[in-house]
């Protein structure tokens, strides 16, 4: 049996006095896409923040390829090959698009040719090339998200954490991003992704994970989850009968 690339064990974490994660546990297998779904406020983003060292885990452990990375700073994680695209807006709004991209490579080791990589990303997202000199804060919501995703591709991650990439992206761009994710997998990169656009996400995924109230409710093959009527009913907006007001 192969070793998981990321293994999260009994994580307890939260904000101040509020505990959000009550012992979250799951694994991510190498070279797979794993999608996390769950209701709003389940703690999905909180898990990602904790893995990436932006939030302290009170107890529990996180291992990346066998190394203990619990509460390690982002700098170290990037060096190990982790990469994280958070939810919301995470750019330097006052700098222009190109500078934003350049700063994405700031922690890269000296032997990485960042300008060349930027060129490659701009090839992939021509919008960003067109708006290269524009102040990033004035981009449209979707363009800002694209910029963030593009920036994360500059480093060679071995594990990508992506928090709801599809928010604000047009259908064509969602397809583009999903195909990039699939390409990454083809290169052996593992992807852990949160998606509310759950059907499309699970369709391209190998594994799926249902998070609720800070716990792993289910973990299974993506296909199995998609076909599970309970999952469909509770989380995928399936055949629910609400008493209308």
């Amino acid at each position: 049996m192969t070793q998981p690339v990321l293994s999260v064990r009994d994580i307890v974490a939260g904000y101040g006095e509020m505990t959000i994660l009550n012992g979250t546990t799951f694994d991510v297998m190498p070279g797979t896409i794993t999608t996390v779904i769950g209701p709003n406020g389940a703690g999905k983003s909180t898990v990602f923040k904790t893995i990436f060292g932006m939030l302290k885990a009170r107890t529990g452990s996180i291992h990346f390829k066998g190394t203990d990375i619990t509460n390690a700073p982002p700098r170290k994680l990037l060096a190990l090959g982790l990469c994280y695209v958070p939810q919301g807006r995470n750019i330097f709004p006052e700098l222009n698009v190109l500078s934003n991209l350049e700063l994405g490579g700031i922690a890269a080791s000296a032997d990485v040719n960042i300008p060349q990589r930027i060129e490659a990303v701009l090839e992939r997202f021509p919008v960003l090339r067109r708006k290269g000199q524009q102040q990033a804060g004035t981009l449209s919501g979707g363009e800002q998200k694209l910029l963030e995703i593009a920036r994360s591709l500059l480093l060679d991650p071995q594990l990508m954490l992506i928090d709801e990439p599809s928010i604000g992206l047009s259908p064509m761009m969602v397809q583009e991003v999903f195909s990039i994710i699939k390409e990454l997998r083809a290169k052996g990169v593992s992807v852990l992704m949160i998606e509310q656009n759950a059907r499309s996400a699970l369709e391209i995924s190998d594994d799926g994970l249902v998070l609720e109230l800070g716990r792993t409710r289910m973990q299974d093959r993506a296909q199995t989850l998609l076909n599970d009527p309970r999952v469909g009913q509770l989380f995928l907006g399936g055949v629910i009968e609400e008493k209308s007001a």
């Binding site: 904000y15 509020m18 769950g38 209701p39 709003n40 406020g41 389940a42 983003s45 939810q87 919301g88 807006r89 919008v127 708006k131 524009q134 004035t138 981009l139 449209s140 919501g141 979707g142 363009e143 694209l146 709801e164 599809s166 928010i167 604000g168 992206l169 047009s170 259908p171 064509m172 761009m173 969602v174 397809q175 509310q196 656009n197 759950a198 059907r199 509770l234 989380f235 995928l236 907006g237 399936g238 629910i240 609400e242 209308s244 007001a245």
Partner: protein, 248 residues
């Protein structure tokens, strides 16, 4: 034929050298749910901002009930019964969820002076509680809005737009980040308000399923211009729309 509620005439908006919206015209009829779709950066949000007075349009006019309301301030537009939601999170982080909602309604009760002498909650607590329940935020009613998750804040933003019982709501990507189950719920709510109260909606959204199910008519923008307009089915079949927006 129902009457025209909002009419947008040749709106153009430029930022320095960039033309974000390039002469867009359309009208919104009373009681319809109009979808606005288009690729990223085609000017949808900017169009909203121009209609609602958040930004002054470079050119063009906005008519509400036949009155020229171009350049009116957002608060004035809101008091005329037009409310909105935002694409990026916009809540009052230090206020509780309930306070956020009361705030969203209070300026519609009486005048500035009568509010000063009226009750603290402007009599809105029951309404707020009802909406809170609807959006399943009950357990968070007394939490500070800043501590909510992305999707929860998104829902709160939408909830605020409904607080004052508006005639018309402009929603900027309401589905982004909202759980599918919850989204179905929201969709029903919109439809119910539409049929029961005759409220009008204009929705920007990239979630095509949502748009196709909900909207009665769709306007498609690309590069700041209107490239198509019609029923969801018509638009979906339109080759220009497929090329610019939907993909294969």
């Amino acid at each position: 034929m129902t009457r025209t509620l909002l009419e947008v005439q040749g709106i153009r908006k430029t930022f320095g050298g960039i033309t974000a919206v390039d002469g867009v015209s359309f009208e919104v009829r009373e009681g319809e749910i109009l979808g606005i779709i288009g690729p990223n950066g085609c000017g949808k949000s900017t169009l909203f901002n121009c209609i609602l007075g958040q930004l002054p349009p470079t050119e063009g006019k906005v008519l509400l009930d036949g009155d020229d309301v171009t350049g009116l301030r957002p608060s004035e537009m809101n008091r005329r019964g037009v409310s909105r939601t935002f694409q990026l999170l916009q809540v009052f982080p230090q206020l509780s969820v309930r306070e956020n909602l009361i705030l969203a309604g209070q300026e519609h009760k009486g005048t500035m002076v009568t509010r000063l002498f009226g009750p603290r909650d402007a009599g809105l607590t029951p309404d707020a509680n009802q909406i809170i329940e609807f959006f399943r935020l009950g357990h968070l009613a007394d939490e500070k809005a800043g501590g909510l998750s992305y999707g929860q804040q998104k829902l709160l933003d939408a909830a605020m737009a409904f607080m004052a019982g508006p005639r018309m709501v402009l929603l900027d990507e309401p589905a982004g980040g909202v759980n599918l189950t919850m989204l179905g719920h929201l969709e029903e709510r919109l439809r119910a308000m539409n049929t029961e109260r005759g409220a009008t909606f204009v929705v920007i959204e990239h979630n095509m399923d949502f748009v196709m199910r909900l909207c009665t008519r769709v306007v498609v923008l690309a590069e700041g211009k209107k490239i198509a307009e019609g029923t969801p089915a018509e638009v979906r079949a339109n080759q220009a729309v497929i090329d610019a927006y939907l993909g294969h």
